[in-house]
């Protein structure tokens, strides 16, 4: 708990011993993205949990943007899931603008930072990241409903039709499509009674995210 005691650290120590704030932040971002992708694999996927994780990702993204640190395509790193970069938690648990060795302007670690991030055009990558995040949320929504028959057998028809419109379950099968169109179609998922086809779509989503 050395930071808690406010001990000053030398720059050299910073690089070796304690991970910098930005490294930890990047680790947190990576971990969060992995969690979002894998939430379908949970026994009980939770919309609340996914929304909270997605909000956390957005927060990190915003802060990175403010710091000028946002350059990399986050989805690139999720496939590799560098969880071994996740280190001691103390730093991240402290308030964001604490003088946790870095200071709000973070001048010293910037040299380190530029080597951490890869990728080109910041805006383009950020856009694709946002799209991937949104797609994850879309597929979350599509995976929670039950099969069509169970869902709408007894329900009052006016309520039923509104909801049918919103979840697009009555929209009809769209399993033949490829690429991003298939992802968009997931917002109006095919009424699927088989888990297998759902999993197939999942693999498709993960594949696209990793390739982005």
């Amino acid at each position: 708990m050395m930071f808690a005691r406010g001990l000053k650290r030398k720059c050299a120590e910073d690089e070796e011993a304690a991970p910098s704030y930005s490294r930890q932040r990047q680790s947190l971002l990576d971990m969060s993205l992995v969690k979002l992708q894998l939430c379908h694999a949970l026994a009980e996927p939770s919309l609340c949990r996914s929304v909270l994780i997605a909000n956390t990702v957005r927060q990190i993204q915003e802060e990175m943007t403010q710091d000028g640190a946002w350059r990399g395509a986050a989805p690139q790193t999720t496939g590799r899931a560098p969880l071994d970069r996740l280190v001691s938690t103390d730093l991240l648990c402290r308030s964001v603008r604490d003088g946790a060795g870095d200071g709000p302007a973070a001048p010293a670690p910037r040299g380190l930072q530029s080597s951490i991030w890869e990728g080109d055009g910041p805006l383009e990558d950020k856009g694709s990241f946002q799209k991937s995040l949104d797609q994850i949320l879309e597929t979350l929504e599509s995976n929670t409903p039950l099969s069509v028959d169970e869902l709408f057998s007894d329900v009052d028809s006016s309520y039923c039709s509104l909801d049918a419109v919103l979840t697009g379950v009555v929209g009809g099968a769209q399993s033949g499509q490829d690429g991003l169109e298939a992802l968009a179609a997931m917002a109006a998922p095919a009424p699927s009674t088989s888990c297998k086809s759902d999993l197939g779509e999942l693999d498709h989503v993960v594949g696209i995210l990793v390739e982005t």
Partner: protein, 390 residues
């Protein structure tokens, strides 16, 4: 010598009625109304109202689903009806807000309902005897005046009352800073065609937005702030005057009449605050703990990790940590208070934070409505504890 004979647990549950197909998302709460005719069920995005006798139809009363799911940033986490007012309910969210709704104000309660609010005078007299009686839509609101002749309050700053005309009858409204006797007098009236207000008083009716939210302390902000502020449970007190909420690290008590901050905050396991990143990694940070009131609303209880549960006495401000575990307590023995050691030297019988078992979590507890008997669910065991019987 008494012998412990293990028995196989035999439970057979058969559904009496099935209310089907009105929820697209996971149901997190159900709450029976005080009218005993209706109840509500809440999922992540919607709350529906049911009648016990009608199983194939429900009425949607809250819907926070955005038109575009990509814009979703907040979900409903818990909901409960007021114990006495059958039109009032609360629901909590993953962003740490609590919304109080009145079904009479609008059919769909996702708009802010309009209540009486702060008055120019700020002289608190007695506690507000009841809350939210007689609410009307803004358009229907007609201010009338109340006769206060003969209701002089001796020695205190006089309060006053407004009545709202709803349809053909006037409904007395209770407000802040109101004297008990005035309210009692008014509530005996059947109908009031028109009443007089004391000349020197005038009331301003403005919108009270009954959204309860504690402003965030900017110095405490971290990436986990929002997650730990997500409310996992909300419960009205038996009196109906207070709400209790549980978030990841605390239990808070709110006065229904004060929405800008809780009146009491209790730390359940603050030693976890420095471990949030690990708890995020292993998903424990998403655990949803419940909280309960005792029958007299003087003690509150909630669960924690390592099969610990905590009780807070609101009057004495004392708290205790107990353990629900067969290994560590004999049947009929008094539970021994536990203590978590947060740093420095660990005393005997204390448990250090790092040796807590996070897989043993007490999420669900219940307190008998009138007796001191509690039920605690610890993984796959149910413990029932009661006051020591002499």
């Amino acid at each position: 010598v008494p012998v412990l004979r293990p028995m196989d647990l035999m439970v057979e549950a058969t559904p009496r009625r099935v209310f089907a197909n009105a929820h697209t998302y996971h149901i997190n709460s159900i709450s029976v109304n005080s009218d005993y005719e209706t109840y509500m069920s809440a999922d992540d995005l919607r709350i529906n109202l049911w009648n016990f006798e009608i199983t194939n139809q429900s009425f949607n009363i809250v819907d926070i689903k955005p038109a575009n799911m990509e814009e979703l940033t907040e979900v409903i986490t818990a909901a409960e009806f007021h114990p006495h007012h059958c039109n009032t309910f609360v629901y909590s969210s993953s962003k740490g807000t609590i919304r109080l709704c009145d079904m009479r104000a609008s059919a769909l309660c996702d708009r802010h309902t309009k209540f009486w609010t702060n008055l120019p005078h700020s002289s608190p007299t007695l506690e507000v005897p009841s809350y939210g009686e007689g609410v009307a839509r803004a358009g229907d609101l007609q201010e009338t005046k109340l006769a206060t002749a003969g209701l002089e309050v001796q020695g205190e700053e006089p309060g006053f009352l407004l009545a709202v005309v709803m349809g053909n009858s006037a409904v007395p409204i209770t407000l802040h800073w109101l004297h008990q006797e005035i309210v009692n007098h008014v509530s005996k009236q059947e109908s009031m065609p028109g009443v007089l207000l004391r000349e020197e008083m005038s009331a301003e009716v403005s919108d009270l937005k009954p959204v309860f939210e504690e402003p965030e302390d900017p110095s405490n902000r971290s990436f986990f702030s929002e997650i730990i502020s997500s409310i996992s449970d909300v419960k009205f007190s038996h009196s109906g005057r207070y709400i209790m909420t549980r978030d990841y690290l605390t239990v808070k008590v709110w006065d229904l009449n004060m929405e800008n901050r809780p009146i009491e905050t209790y730390q359940v396991h603050d030693y976890l605050r420095s471990k949030l990143c690990s708890l995020y990694e292993n998903d424990c940070i998403f655990d949803k703990f419940e909280c309960v009131w005792n029958g007299s609303d003087s003690v509150i209880m909630t669960g924690s990790y390592n099969n610990f549960f905590r009780m807070f006495d609101r009057n004495t401000k004392r708290d205790v940590t107990l353990e629900a575990s067969r290994e560590n307590s004999k049947p009929r023995a008094i539970l021994k208070p536990r203590k978590v050691c947060v740093g420095g030297k660990r005393r005997k019988d204390e448990i250090s934070v790092d040796s807590l078992d996070f897989s043993k979590k007490i999420l669900h507890t219940a307190w008998h409505p009138s007796e001191n008997i509690i039920a605690v669910a610890a993984t796959n065991n149910l413990y029932i504890f009661q006051d020591k019987v002499n």
